[in-house]
Symmetry: C2
Subunit: 398 residues, 2 copies
Amino acid sequence: MSVSSGGPAAAPAMRNGLAPAWGDLPGHRVEFGRDRPFRLDSGVELGPFTVAYQTYGRLNADKSNAILVCHALTGDQYVAETHPVTGKPGWWEMLVGPGQVVDTERWFVICANVLGGCLGTSGPRDIDPATGQPWGLSFPVITIADMVRSQKLLIEHLGIEKLFCVIGGSMGGMQVLQWATSYPDRVFSAVPIATAARHSAQNIAFHEVGRQAIMADPDWCGGDYLQQGRRPGAGLAVARMAAHITYLSEAALHRKFGRALQDRTGLSYGFDADFQVESYLRHQGSTFVERFDANSYLYITRAMDYFDIAAEHGGVLANAFRGSPTRFCLFSFTSDWLFPTSESRAVVHALNAAAANVSFVEIDSDKGHDAFLLDEPEFHATLRGFLAGCADHWSRGR
Amino acid sequence: MSVSSGGPAAAPAMRNGLAPAWGDLPGHRVEFGRDRPFRLDSGVELGPFTVAYQTYGRLNADKSNAILVCHALTGDQYVAETHPVTGKPGWWEMLVGPGQVVDTERWFVICANVLGGCLGTSGPRDIDPATGQPWGLSFPVITIADMVRSQKLLIEHLGIEKLFCVIGGSMGGMQVLQWATSYPDRVFSAVPIATAARHSAQNIAFHEVGRQAIMADPDWCGGDYLQQGRRPGAGLAVARMAAHITYLSEAALHRKFGRALQDRTGLSYGFDADFQVESYLRHQGSTFVERFDANSYLYITRAMDYFDIAAEHGGVLANAFRGSPTRFCLFSFTSDWLFPTSESRAVVHALNAAAANVSFVEIDSDKGHDAFLLDEPEFHATLRGFLAGCADHWSRGR
């Protein structure tokens, strides 16, 4: 189990323009919930269900070198290898790999596709065993805590008692915070990046726009598009376009595109993509549709909207962290307006109020929310130092 | 001509859920472009075409008390009276009316529906005389300068040589800047509010999302929905929802809604509007569809995207204002992230570089871009003072 699923995989053929079914995707699979029911926050019991995951590096003999990476809304388990659908590099190769900040020659890195996802872990595009048809909207609504609960089953399955670190950005950071509050004794260190302890009204609003765009597409078919051989590609593309703007910053868009025209010398006086930024956005929409399931987008955005750690602890965020043994290091980025520094600071204040062990670094960047995925030397250097320091503490403590 | 079109009008019956044709709407109409061709920036000659406008107050004998109000993207000419379609108060009644900051007992206020609009001035939902069918996408693409050119015809038609003031927010502010640069001798004072001298890459991106949402709706029919008796309501609602978020601020959304639930005590674990902010946003989308034309939305967003005053002046914004006799007063709002203070400041710097007469006030507000439409006492008091001061200068100068 300690070996990665292998090197770069060729992109399998697309079937009817859909992403390949999870059975075709490379990587590990494990089934849960057959013997023991898996109770979701909604009260629904889900099972059996599959968790698809990738690993990088080698688990050491005493299983003390495991780092769990939690992926963001449209991320997946292909952290540090060529993506099997898009053929592009893994989404965090900048950070994870041999000799990288998260050095897979030292650490055993695990990443699982989230519950409700569409890259192998059970979600609305999979077959409901009760009906033999795709779940669609009959798939139960899941929460960030449900995702983390399923990851805990995976970690137990791998025989790992305590994770050296749980790390992730954006929705991945929400999972990190959930791990640290649900299972504090299993998390030696936690790195929540560009995230928040609760989803803001503005962010719920942006998600609702995306969901409405998908549900307005007649090819969504009330969620039953798979049975009907259709696909709400136009709606999903609009959802992605709107979301994509929120991942960047005005400064980054200005720097990258400004008002530059696309393949023309003058305005067309029409509705083609005159501006490079329009062309770029359309491309973001159309490529996303090739790798993501529209219903999964509904479910995962909903899970983020529902996220509110303080609500589980009497409305007081600090209560979530009382007595926490975990070492925290939070990161935010100055130009991130989706998960602004104020959100990270609220978590830091709560951790301080609980006398937890916490570091916080705001990175100066004009790259917006996506900075956590990009080449940010100060972020990477600080994280490298934090992990090294935690490794010292861990080895002294054992 | 100096009398207002009258008091509150009852909302006329909606026809097939469409906004009433302009012929049914109350107010003034004037036709241009029949004798003299009206050449658009695109090179197309438009004519004949109609400009629909409202006036408030009384034009004085020497026609020296005229204030032209320019409306924003989804605004219209019903500035200070009950809206004939929605039955709601005029969009700037907070500011314009008897005894208000823009006092209609003193000033003669004019506002025209913009070219390309859908409330009476010619736009894509009107009949193309050449075909007898609605223009749809065969209506020529228009620019902010085209809008202003048509307003100049109206001002000439009203016999007004020089406007005491041109005022407007957002796209209205773009028109103010265009007036001041195209016809400096006809503008004694100019009040561009919450605006910019060019549309930013991020704002073009948000507009493109809205356009794609409309064009993705099968009921858009390639723009020919009127002929086919259909209507891209779902797409237009999504466009409005996305845009509406940009008109507010995170702080305003948090203050108004936070994570409060809508008519329920707990999460539904479904895709209904659990949160008040979702319900609010859906309402914004659905009510907008009742009063606005989808193709007009395409045309007017395009006009804003194309706006770039410096580009008309060798790329140097200050050149646009060289020798300007106009007195400027600009306003921005601290929480406006659609037209942030930096954009107003760029205009102020250019005006200063041209040694123009300019005041600039950044108003502290958490209400976002929409603050210019709302009760902002400091904004109103400052504007009142500016208008009074300009009136003194104007009377001394005559």
